[in-house]
């Protein structure tokens, strides 16, 4: 293990466009693990594979192990090595540790600060553990990465606010109704953005979901995809009072919901707020409906503006997050280095002692 080094090698959305990432996507993680099992000098390995990145975190002797991983991966994907070298990331030592910290924190994500990556890193680590390919260094690295990511999320604004229109709409509904388990949602129109928003409401546990479209067949199709009910488009005004959230995304040339219709619905449910989300262009809802008591009307521009503000707020936190993560990576790397440099000496001891001391040495 003399000259052993932590490394990460792979391709991410930062340098690899979608078409390239498609070619680099792993069809089977177990197959590549089998390929890499024979790489000489590679003592630990974890594979992080998402739609935005394929990364190999390893501990091996010098540059040789990382190059062997690259060669095996390119061979498996039938990808030109020279081309891969142009788009790859390859980091070692403390920089590799810092990279994982940033990935787990969502700092390296396409959607800055998103939380899904945290779960994906956890899954990657669990899979590596299940295969028995992690050791003292990667175990400590991943555990510290999870701690660092959690710390950054709670102590900075990197994860605050939503940055997609659909999620902003869902957050908006939560700030009106609290739990969405009490909210009934009506989707007017079968446009893609409306369907995406309805899906976001469904995933956050909306109590009831119904779809009304100008084309009944298409409405039934969308409703089936969302496990929702259908409402005849002509009944939209009369059924409005039953719903708490209305998402409009029709391609109608003029408004399909008048302020008068909304006012009439509110008279039947005066104490309960109504959230109207108008995602259509031209707009589906008369703008004067915003003046009604207990009615909250948001259009596409409003939601986009909120999403943009949230994104800018997250960007403003990047420097703070990086400083926190760099400090933590420095701390971790100091201990890992001491462990790696003493690994030769440990080899002489009993296996139990080696494992115990490895854990102690790597623990910051």
């Amino acid at each position: 293990m003399s000259g052993a080094c932590l490394f990460v090698i792979g391709a991410t959305h930062q340098n690899a466009p979608l078409g390239v990432r498609e070619r680099l996507a792993l069809s089977s993680e177990s197959a590549i693990r089998d390929d890499l099992a024979s790489v000489e000098g590679l003592s630990e390995l974890a594979v992080l594979s998402t739609c935005n990145r394929v990364e190999f975190y390893g501990v091996g002797s010098g540059d040789g192990a990382a190059d062997s991983v690259q060669a095996a991966y390119c061979a498996r994907q039938r990808f030109d090595v020279a081309e891969f070298e142009r788009i790859r990331i390859k980091l070692t030592g403390r920089d590799a540790a810092l990279h994982l910290f940033e990935v787990a924190s969502g700092l390296d994500s396409q959607l800055l600060g998103e939380n899904e990556i945290f779960g994906q890193v956890k899954e990657a680590y669990a899979a590596a553990q299940a295969c028995g390919s992690t050791g003292a260094v990667l175990n400590r690295l991943f555990q510290k990465a999870f701690q660092a990511a959690k710390h950054v999320r709670t102590s900075t604004g990197i994860g605050s606010g939503r940055v997609s229109v659909a999620n902003v709409a869902v957050d908006l509904a939560a700030s009106i109704f609290g739990s969405l388990a009490v909210a009934k949602v009506l989707v007017l129109g079968t446009g893609e953005i409306g369907e995406g928003t309805a899906r976001a409401f469904r995933s956050r546990g909306a109590a009831e979901l119904a779809v009304a479209g100008r084309t009944p067949e298409r409405a039934a199709e969308v409703a089936a995809a969302l496990s929702a009910e259908t409402v005849p488009f002509g009944d939209r005004d009369s059924s409005l009072a039953h719903y708490d959230i209305v998402v409009c995304s029709t391609a109608a040339p003029s408004a399909v919901l008048s302020a008068a219709a909304i006012a009439a619905a509110m008279r039947r449910r005066p104490a309960r707020p109504l959230l109207v989300i108008d995602l259509a262009l031209p707009r589906d809802v008369e703008a004067s409906a915003a003046d009604l008591q207990n009615v909250f009307l948001y259009n596409l521009d409003d939601l986009a503006r909120i999403a943009e503000r949230n994104r800018m707020a997250r960007e403003a936190e990047i420097a703070r997050c990086r400083a926190i993560l760099a400090h933590r990576a420095d701390g971790l790397w100091g201990h890992v280095q001491r462990y790696l440099s003493s690994a030769d000496g440990l080899k002489g001891g009993s296996p139990d002692r080696n494992a115990r001391e490895a854990g102690q040495a790597a623990a910051p």
């Binding site: 606010g161 700030s175 609290g178």
Partner: protein, 289 residues
């Protein structure tokens, strides 16, 4: 007057205990303000602990005061304000944890600090102390305690209404970021408002029922200004609750009404205080050695 607690507790006068309590409420207020200025979520646990510490100290201070007064310390404007703050905070400590809103803690510490610091800072409010104001009648003491406790509930209602108006403003003006994001949902705030108003109204009704039993025996003892002010507050609460129930007073208007109700309750305390007798003049400094 000016009694001190025996044994293990520090040898402080009632006002000194109450100043300490005010200090903790102010600390909660400062903690929350610093967090909000930095754009961070206020620390619910820290503020809750500050309020709890202030509450315990206030309880001791009012206890010392109560021993000296020979009953519930409601003998002057100062004591009424202190008791109102203590009542609102009692309710917050019991139900506040279910709000899941650190901002409510922040606003409660604002209310606690405002009522206690203001009452402590105006010596005239405590210049005249009255003892045995209930004449040994436990029913009339219960009446007074319940009435002031209901005002404390209205205090918490006013805070919730303030939060509602902030949330309403953020939603209507489409500003959801910053510290607006720490506010509870508007529907939850609305439900809590209704429950607090019902609770305050119920307590005030009970207080009036107990009071009326006493007054009906001797109507000559009833101060008309006090009766009119108290009944007006009660009638306003009843009207607000009734109009809310039939859907005529909703959302923003309901919240403003609740704020006005608390303001009216505070104003009515002047009439309540004026009705006190007999009076025993005693300088505050001497009363609290």
């Amino acid at each position: 007057m000016g009694q001190r607690l025996p044994s293990m507790l520090p040898d402080l006068s009632d006002r000194q205990w109450l100043w300490c309590a005010a200090g903790f409420y102010t600390a909660g207020l400062l903690l929350g303000t610093v967090s909000l200025v930095r754009g961070q979520r206020t620390s619910g646990i820290l503020i809750y602990c500050a309020i709890l510490a202030g509450y315990v100290l206030q309880f001791i201070g009012l206890g010392v005061r109560g021993r000296a007064a020979g009953g519930c310390p409601l003998g002057n404007q100062f004591e009424i304000f202190q008791f109102t703050a203590w009542s609102a905070i009692t309710l917050y400590l019991v139900v506040g944890v279910t709000f899941r809103s650190s901002l409510l803690g922040f606003f409660t510490s604002c209310l606690g600090a405002a009522l206690t610091v203001v009452s402590l800072s105006i010596p005239a409010w405590d210049a005249v102390r009255r003892t045995h104001i209930f004449g040994g009648n436990p029913w009339i003491e219960l009446h007074a305690a319940l009435a002031i406790f209901s005002y404390g509930v209205f205090g918490l209602l006013a805070l919730t209404s303030g939060l509602f108006l902030l949330r309403h403003f953020s939603l209507k003006s489409k500003r959801l970021g910053g510290w607006f994001s720490f506010l509870p949902s508007i529907l939850e705030l609305d439900h809590i408002e209704v429950r607090l108003l019902a609770a305050g109204f119920g307590l005030l009704t009970l207080a009036l029922v107990f009071g009326s039993v006493y007054w009906s025996r001797d109507t000559a003892t009833v101060d008309h200004a006090k009766l009119a002010a108290t009944v007006a507050v009660w009638a306003a609460a009843a009207a607000a609750l009734g109009l809310r129930a039939v859907g005529r007073l909703l959302a923003r208007r309901f919240a403003w009404t609740c704020l006005a109700l608390f303001a009216a309750a505070l104003l009515s305390l002047e009439a309540v205080d004026e009705s006190r007798h007999p009076r025993v003049s005693q300088p505050a400094e001497k009363a609290a050695p």
